[in-house]
Structure formats: C-alpha cells, structure tokens
C-alpha cells in the first residue's frame, strides 16, 4: 500500500501477479479510505488479512499527513500479524509502473510549489536519492528527460516531456517488491517516513506587551 501521494492505493500480490487492487485519488481522505480499500482488495481475492506473508509500504517522499496513514497502518498490521514490513521509495513505484527502459525522472507534487523527484537509469534502477526542489531549479538537470508522475503535469514549463503514469499504484509497488523478494530480498528501505523537510515549527514570538505605551 502507498499513501504518500494523493492516491490511496492497495494491492494484493501472490508473488507471480497482482491478485486484486484498488486506487482512489483523494488527497484529503487517506485516513478514511485506506482500511476499506484493504478490505475490498482482500474480499475480492476471497482472503483474510492473516493470509498475507508480508507488507510492502511506500515510505514517501510525500506530504506528511497522508504518508503517515500508510506507514502506521503497515506497522500495526506487522505487529498484529507478526509479518515483516518492507519499505520502498514511493517514486520507485511510479518508475517501475512506467516501464521506461532509458534514463528518465519521476516527479510528484510536494506542494508549496515544489516537487519530490529522483532520476532513474531505467524503470528498475534509481540513479539519485529522492529530493525536494522547485521545478525551475531542477529543470536544467533533467532537461531532455521524460518525466513520470503528477509533478511533470503540474509544471509543464520545467518538465515538457510528461509521461504516464500520473499516479502511484500499489500494484506496481507490489510487483517491484515481488521481484526484489524473489531476487534475494535486497533493495528495501526501513518502513520509516521520508519527509525530506524539517517540520514547520516556529518559536512563538515573545509574549506581546499588553500595556499601552
């Protein structure tokens, strides 16, 4: 599952193929949508959660509130069922879904006129760490590259060669994870949030002087 972007997306993968999946794009209702989506996907497969042998979760980067929904849900499932959680960079799921075999980039909406982005050698291989920047500041570095994800569509001046998919899908994330697990289980991240920004924490101004001068 992945809740790091506006998509609330869940998929069940049996190691060979995606058995069932659900994706809803609604940036404000991750908390309400995730569990019902998990339930729908399992019901469609005729399974209960305890049949699952591992959880894969997108760790972001992503705007914080939604991102935490997926991570805490994954951690709670893991604790309740005693199964492992594997973290994957959310951008890797978009890259994998694109199937692009040449160098390209992934960019998602980081809000505040910024994008989360990373460069890829091909759809399986990330070339840089994920970063958060203003589109204009990375346009030069990514010039001439196709760019996958909603970030490209939001900022066409900076990323003229926008490619599909626009939204994250847990089906792709699960497919990538299944490949990595079959290949020995390397390439996973700890299931911890990738915020890439410090929290907004302003020290309140000194108390206001209330006595009129």
């Amino acid at each position: 599952m992945d809740t790091a972007t506006p998509a609330v997306t869940v998929a069940l993968h049996d190691g060979e193929a995606v058995v069932a999946s659900s994706s809803q794009v609604d940036a404000r209702r991750h908390g309400e949508l995730l569990l019902p989506a998990v339930d729908r996907v399992l019901s469609e497969a005729g399974l209960k959660l305890d049949a699952v042998t591992g959880i894969v979760v997108g760790v972001g980067p992503g705007p914080y509130t939604g991102l935490r929904v997926g991570l805490v849900t994954a951690a709670a499932f893991s604790s309740a069922l005693g199964v492992p959680v594997h973290g994957l960079c959310t951008l890797d799921g978009l890259a994998y879904a694109s199937g692009i075999e040449e160098p390209f980039a992934v960019a998602t909406d980081a809000r505040r006129k910024e994008v989360y982005w990373a460069r890829y050698e091909d759809f399986r291989t990330r070339a840089t760490d994920a970063s958060v920047d203003r589109p204009a500041d990375v346009a030069g570095e990514l010039a001439g590259l196709p760019v996958v994800g909603a970030g490209a569509r939001l900022y066409p001046e900076a990323f003229p060669d926008a490619r599909d998919p626009e939204h994250q899908s847990a089906a792709a994330l699960a497919g990538l994870a299944a490949e990595r697990l079959a290949g020995g289980g390397d390439g996973f991240l700890d299931p911890l949030p990738m915020y890439l920004r410090r929290p907004d924490a302003q020290v309140p101004k000194n108390y206001k002087v209330v006595t009129p001068k």
Binding site: A76, P193, Y207, V209
Partner: protein, 366 residues
C-alpha cells in the same frame, strides 16, 4: 471474559502524548505513555507537526509495551478504542489509523471515542463506576468545560466552557511572562505554595450577576496579570514571582470551583469529578475539596497520572461502550478534530450489502 468487564485497549494521540492503556472492566492493567513534551518545550507550546511525527515513531512500540505490561495477547481483547476527536487533526489520525489496522487485523470491534468523555470515564479506574448523573469539570491546556453526564456512553451535556483561553493555557502564558518555561502548570503550582494567594487581587472572569453562570474566561485575567508584572518591571521593582503565581492561581481555581459547585447545586447533582491536566494542580484539589464538603457534594479526582492525557482513559470508555452494547465504529472512521462533546463515540454508518458492493466495483481498476 465476563460481559460486564470487557478487556479493551485504548489509544490516545490527540495532542503530544502517545498513550496506550489496557483495562479489564474498571481495572487498569497497563498505561503506557510516550510524550514529546520535551521536544515542544523550547517552542513554548505544542507544535502539531512535531507531535504527529513523534506519534508515528512511538505508536506501535507503545502498543506493544502496553500489551507486555498487561501480560495479555492482543488476540484476547474484546475491543479496541481510540480517541477520534477532538484534538490536533494530524495527531489524531496516527492513532485512528493504528487502531483501525489492529482492529481489522485481529477481527476486533473498533470504538472511536470522544476525548472529553474519556477524561471523565477514567475516574472509573480509580473510584469505581461513575455515579449517574455526574458533573465533570475538565481543565487542561486544551479544554475548560463543565459537563453533565447521566450515561458516559450516550449522554454528555455541555453546561459551560471557556469563551477564550483554556485554564491550562493561561498557566502556560503566565509562566512565559514570568520566564518560567513550558509547561507552566507544575512550576506555578510549586511557586504558589510559597506565595500569598491574597497578595494581589486579580480579576475573576465572568463572575458578575449577569454573566453566564457556567462559562469561563481567562483572557482578561491573563492580561491583568501581565499588565501588573509589566508595571512592576517598568517601575524598576522586583516582581514578587511567588505572590504573583499564588494570586494568579487562586483567581483561576476560585472561579473554576465556584462555578462547578454552583452547577452541581443548581442541577441537584451530588457528585463532581475533576479531570484534565490542570486537575493535578494542588490548590485546585484543595479548594474543590473544601467547597464540595461544605456543599455536601462528593468529589472525585483521579490521581494526576490519569488526569493528563493517556490511553487508559480511552480504554476505560471503550470498555464501557462494550459493556453497554454500544454500536462499534466502522472502518471509515475518521479523525474529527472538532468532534462535539455531545458525541461520546462515533458509531458506524450502517451500509447495506448492495451498497458496499457497488462502491467496491466503482473504485477498482485492474
């Protein structure tokens, strides 16, 4: 498990404490808390994003610690309760998401409950079943309310509330004016013990004969105290910190207890419970004791550890929900930062089967 003593785990993340409690009926089995209060101290108040990040980090380890302390397996639980509101939206969402995931994974009923009703219900862990009706005075950094409950699972009526600052907020602000750090409650309580509560006559908000009988206002008091201190400083005189603390504190607890006792008398209620972080204040406890005794009212105040935000209070209310057969919440349960005090819990919206099926087709793609 006896039907009237349900085993319930409760999760509380409405502010800066990640709390997980486990109760068996009215018996407390575990009360695990991870606090991010130290992280907020240098900001002089709770920073929502810092609180949310800390909740995510602490959530599952705190649940596991509570289960271990209680010596039970999560599979033994009769239900999982969580604060659905009111509180900080992002902070609540971490607890609600965790509770839903545990409930779903374990096949247990989920109860989204009200933070304020939980503050009242926690007293069952200390003094046994709540008398019905009970008047409750809840005072903390986030709330100052006078509530009347005839059944904590279904009927909580607001009698009065602060019209501006919460009582605890006033303590924090005055502590800041006096350079005493955050949070302000404990340090003011300590200094006030060495000061004279009658040294300075600070105003009692909303205490006129035409003012609302049960509402509170602490903003005017806060301004008056700050102004008094500034005047001293401007005159180059030393500020008598202990006397200021004692006189300010007296003004707060005088109004709180007077109005709470009056509400009890007016409504013919002979039990008053006081909860919330400010209930740890020693002068509030002493004055309430004195005034209740004079008025023939039985006072119930849980020990300080149960007055501040914690998971045990959520578990206590959840257990009562199970015992009284209240409807469980559904998987769509959302965090509601402004959940009304009149909603002790958030029952699920009942879906019929066809509707669920339709929704699921609509949202699937493969």
């Amino acid at each position: 498990m006896a039907a009237d003593e349900p085993l319930v785990l409760g999760i509380e993340t409405s502010c800066d404490e990640t709390g997980v409690g486990i109760v068996h009926g009215t018996t407390l089995l575990a009360d695990a808390v991870a606090s991010s209060v130290d992280t907020h101290a240098r900001f002089g108040g709770v920073v929502p994003e810092i609180a949310s990040r800390a909740h995510l980090e602490a959530m599952v380890p705190t649940i596991e610690r509570a289960l271990k302390t209680a010596g039970i397996s999560a599979r033994d639980l009769d239900g999982i309760a969580v604060t659905a509101g009111p509180g900080l939206a992002g902070a609540l969402l971490v607890g609600v998401s965790a509770a839903k995931a545990y409930a779903y994974a374990l096949g247990k009923p989920l109860y989204g409950v009200n933070h304020l009703a939980s503050h009242i219900c926690v007293d069952q862990l200390e003094h046994g079943k709540l008398p019905e009706p009970t008047m409750a005075l809840l005072v903390s950094g986030g709330h100052s309310s006078l509530l009347l409950s005839t059944d904590i699972t279904s009927d909580v009526r607001p009698m009065g509330a602060t019209i501006d600052d919460a009582a605890g907020e006033a303590f924090d602000k005055i502590a800041r004016v006096l350079d005493l750090g955050f949070p302000g409650g404990p340090v003011i309580d300590r200094l006030a013990k060495e000061g004279d509560p009658e040294a300075i006559a600070f105003p009692r908000g909303l205490s006129g004969s035409r003012d609302p009988a049960y509402d509170f206002s602490f903003s005017g008091l806060k301004t008056a105290v700050a102004r008094w201190i500034e005047a001293k400083r401007a005159a180059g005189e030393e500020v008598p910190v202990r006397d200021v603390a004692a006189s300010f504190q007296e003004a707060v607890v005088d109004v709180l207890t007077r109005k709470a006792v009056r509400a009890c008398k007016d409504e013919g209620v002979d039990h008053l419970m006081i909860g919330g972080g400010v209930a740890a204040n020693s002068r509030l406890r002493a004055l309430a004791e004195e005034r209740c005794e004079r008025a023939g009212i039985r006072l119930r105040v849980p020990r300080p550890g149960l007055c501040t935000d914690n998971g045990a209070m959520v578990a206590a209310l959840g257990s009562e929900m199970v015992a009284r057969g209240r409807a469980a919440s559904d998987l769509e349960l959302s965090a509601d930062s402004s959940l009304p005090v009149t909603d002790p819990h958030v029952p699920g919206r009942s879906h019929d089967h066809d509707h669920v099926h339709e929704v699921s087709k609509e949202n699937l793609y493969s």
